[in-house]
Symmetry: C2
Amino acid sequence: MRGDGKIVVLSGGVGGAKLVHGLAQVIPPERLVVVVNTGDDFKHLGLRICPDLDTVTYTLAGLADPKRGWGRANETWNFMAALKQLGAEDWFNLGDRDLALHVQRMQRLAQGESLTEVTAGICRNLGISSALLPMSNDPVATIVETPDGPLAFQHYFVRDRCLPNVTGFRFDGIDRARANPALLHLFADCVVSAVIIAPSNPYVSVDPILALAEFRSALDAFCGPIVAVSPIIGRKAIRGPAAKMMQEMGVPPTVIGIAAHYQGTIDGLVIDKTDHAQADEVIQQRIDVRVEQTVMHTLEDRVMLARACLEFAGVLIRKGVR
Amino acid sequence: MRGDGKIVVLSGGVGGAKLVHGLAQVIPPERLVVVVNTGDDFKHLGLRICPDLDTVTYTLAGLADPKRGWGRANETWNFMAALKQLGAEDWFNLGDRDLALHVQRMQRLAQGESLTEVTAGICRNLGISSALLPMSNDPVATIVETPDGPLAFQHYFVRDRCLPNVTGFRFDGIDRARANPALLHLFADCVVSAVIIAPSNPYVSVDPILALAEFRSALDAFCGPIVAVSPIIGRKAIRGPAAKMMQEMGVPPTVIGIAAHYQGTIDGLVIDKTDHAQADEVIQQRIDVRVEQTVMHTLEDRVMLARACLEFAGVLIRKGVR
């Protein structure tokens, strides 16, 4: 792999953020470009909430809560308590410290800044030097289709705790949404060495990014390797509803199911040691496999997986996958 | 005084809120109408902040911080700490609990509710049954004139800690602002028994209300008593820059100065025992005087002053002041 090219990572929230954090430890900040899903974004209490962007931001800034999977460490909840007293909707928790980010984002967006500019400003102030790019500056809303009708993503995910059965997904606004121009420039300028799809939910974290037509075209024309890390380990997702969704969609919740989902997009799939027996079936789908420990409990785990992804991409370049 | 008429109180923040709180203890909630200054309101961090409305609201709801004079008791400040970390303006403190009110107000205003409707909704949820009426639903901005140019009120008051010399005031938007229709209706329907001007800053808390042309006309046509409580006690204001402003404007910071300021508007002035020697000079200005303890340390003090104001208004009705 070219030593100075950009590593573009497609990421959702928790799992993606962990791998991004690992990558940030092993490559110089100017080489790391994180493209973050904004399909989960929604307007709540008049604020623009960007759950995936926030999780990646807090993780890279070292501010993320280590257990909760979202929001900031050492958080307090007095805003929520007062909001409840005022009779407002309180199904979506916003911590007192976390709120500063949402209020600032709302203010800057209202002043005409793009989401990319707002995010860059926040990153600067939190000491993050890598590029965090929202997948688009335009609104895209992930809708979860259920037998009882469509649900806005956060209603499905938070309010209804992922309980409804899933029959499909759509991304409202995707046809009008332009992929982040800064991202497209990187591909147009041929400065991207590899694309890594983080171990995020394929349906609701990665697919919205891949559904942006201009980005899809850029990926189709891209001649470097595209590597994904399976979010499924031993028929389960570490966190979130990916496995449940796969089952409900009639897809086996395995690395084979993940490979099938990304077939035609990826050149390589990193799977966990637990799933090594399924490597051959993935390879039959013309996808290279690398077996690693993909569970990330510690910072060391994150770094090891990041290195493995980079090495794997390097191997694929030398093999001339494309 | 007619036993069932409305008592309309014109109020700013702290001092006004205390008297309003006293009145709320002694007359039924449906008789109490509080008209609150909104000239101090400003947009900050994209939120609409209404300092006087909030202080009156929190005081009536029993949530006000007893010492600080603004905001809520048992407050935490983690939002502010995080905001500072994000490099945002942090000269105006917003507590974590307090923020719930500002966020909800912003959301409701954005949805097209008037400030009066938003305030009524908040009051309902906090168990306040008296009517809290913002003086206007339209924006009015108090500007403090200084030798170095004009200052937005909160810049003068909070950011610059009232240090600049004051040469005058203006109320931007006052010509276009309509007085609160609900307030005008009360006068049109002749259901007001008396008007009480709370011990608030005459220049920046009461004058903006009196400067609303329609309300001024309603007061001019009103045939009941208008009673003010002096915010000046022994050449000082209990809180805030009233005395300093009077001196800088060349007005003696005394109850005589207050009487002169309100001459032509009020029929009676309640002054503190400390200032009893100046009663005659006030009476020479054709303003009746009642001497009371006007300092309100305890809830009992608030109630006593409230009763005194009501009795005084009753006496003036019987004397047929108008």
